[in-house]
């Protein structure tokens, strides 16, 4: 039986620790969307939604939904004090203009150069859809990708070169998976942390490009110290 990897919730929990106090943040579809629930209590961050919300709060409680106040995933949400509404073009002045401190997106593939593919599986039926991910990827001051380390068929999602249609090139700063935290650096991928119970060598076997790591790689933290 394979060893237990982190759950999607645990990936989100780990990713939440990357949020600096006072940051303006955009969270994408998938695992990133779970992160808001794990923001450490001593940290305040402001959530941006590309449909025109800053200071977005938690999902609306059942029965209290306002369908004019939805996030980028069509989910009814709330607005926190100090939040604001604006148009979609102004929302993307924020994404593309480099105003968001940190953005976290899901990924289908990330290359060792920090290229991201996250919008379309090759050969998929239908037209596909880009949404706001391309604007967010190029503009974020810091871009994190959270995803499972390998695809359902076991193949690595961290690759030398993306074979899937690209979202943006040279954009990812850090990858957080169910096996590791990996920084994309000019010298290549640096393994910063490994999931509890895994060795750097094991993580390397699930990763196509070569990882750089020191002799002692710490375990992935799940809570703020």
């Amino acid at each position: 039986m394979p060893k237990a990897r982190l759950t999607r919730e645990q990936i989100a929990e780990r990713a939440a620790l990357e949020l600096p106090d006072g940051a303006y943040v955009n969270l994408g579809w998938g695992i990133p969307n779970l992160i808001a629930a794990y923001v450490p209590s001593q940290v305040t961050v402001y959530f941006h939604s590309e449909n025109g919300i800053l200071g977005m709060g938690p999902r609306a409680k059942p029965g209290e939904e306002d369908f004019d106040l939805v996030d980028a995933m069509k989910v009814p949400v709330t607005l926190l004090p100090g939040g604001s509404y604006f148009s979609q073009d102004d929302a993307h002045v924020m994404t593309r203009g480099g105003h968001l401190d940190i953005c976290i997106l899901g990924g289908l593939q990330v290359s060792e150069h920090g290229d991201l593919a996250n919008w379309r599986v090759p050969g998929a039926k239908g037209a596909g859809g880009i949404g706001g991910a391309m604007d967010i990827s190029v503009g974020a001051q810091k871009l994190l990708v959270t995803m499972e380390h390998t695809a359902k068929d076991g193949s690595p999602k961290i690759v030398k070169t993306c074979s899937y249609p690209l979202t943006a090139i040279d954009c990812v700063d850090t990858i957080i998976t169910d096996l590791a935290v990996i920084d994309v650096t000019p010298e290549g991928l640096v393994l910063r942390e490994v999931a509890p119970g895994f060795t750097p060598e094991e993580v390397q076997t699930f990763t196509e490009p070569k990882l750089r790591y020191s002799t002692k790689v710490p375990e992935m933290r799940l809570q703020q110290r």
Binding site: F67, D68, Q88, I130, M134, A168
Partner: protein, 226 residues
């Protein structure tokens, strides 16, 4: 004192003259801020061979879905047609619809450029991806960019919360989305609103779309969501 009357008596009157082949922008995102009454009016009116500029392509028969179901649309520019856009997807897979996929922020920016008299601009979005393919590329101050073109339309169909009779608009929460920018980028902007108020009733500090961008105003028929 006279002045051009912008308030139309009915949804049907507001869309009566849309010709076959027109290109129309539709506001709305995530279920909020769609001009559903205008869309339904256009379905009744029956114009065909339409070009659509919209973030997405409806959900089932909802929102723009109705116009796809009626086969009124032949060309689409969109950021995220959407998995729930059943009729669009069927016709797209059958090769019956021409589609240009555009990153969401660039869709906005191309419309803003049109409204602002800017014919083209360099953009960092889509560089090195299929979005950049075939587009002029240039290094500017050490970074790669592609050239994007302004995007206008014959009509913008938008939804606002309140209008005064002169055409000033305010929106409600995240139902604002694409509506204000589309209002600037079309030859004629038609807005459906929850309420038409007397001129002077909106606080001039809070007006989001000034009247200059609005050509026709019509009271929504009560249906906010499709």
């Amino acid at each position: 004192m006279t002045s051009k009357e912008k308030v139309y008596p009915t949804i049907d009157a507001a869309v009566a003259d849309i010709p076959d082949g027109a290109t129309i922008m539709f506001g709305g995102f995530g279920g909020a801020g769609f001009p559903n009454n205008l869309i339904q009016g256009l379905a009744r009116q029956g114009a065909r061979n339409l070009g659509v500029i919209s973030n997405n392509c409806g959900t089932g028969e909802g929102e723009l879905g109705l116009l796809f179901k009626n086969r009124q649309i032949s060309r689409v520019i969109a950021a995220f047609p959407g998995p729930g856009a059943k009729y669009f997807q069927e016709q797209f897979d059958a090769g019956e619809i021409e589609l240009e996929l555009v990153p969401q922020g660039i869709l906005c920016e191309r419309m803003r450029a049109f409204g602002a008299g800017i014919p083209a601009f360099f953009s960092p979005v889509g560089v090195g991806t299929e979005i950049g393919r075939g587009k002029e590329e240039r290094m500017i101050r050490g970074k790669r960019y592609i050239l994007e073109q302004a995007l206008g339309a014959d009509y913008a169909f938008i939804r606002a919360y309140r209008a005064d009779r002169m055409g000033n608009l305010v929106y409600r929460k995240a139902a604002r989305n694409f509506n204000p920018i589309m209002a600037t980028a079309a030859k004629s902007t038609i807005v459906e609103v929850e309420e038409v108020v007397a001129t002077g009733k909106l606080d001039p500090e809070t007006i989001v779309t000034p009247s200059i961008f609005v050509d026709r105003i019509v009271q929504a028929e009560g249906k906010r969501y499709a």
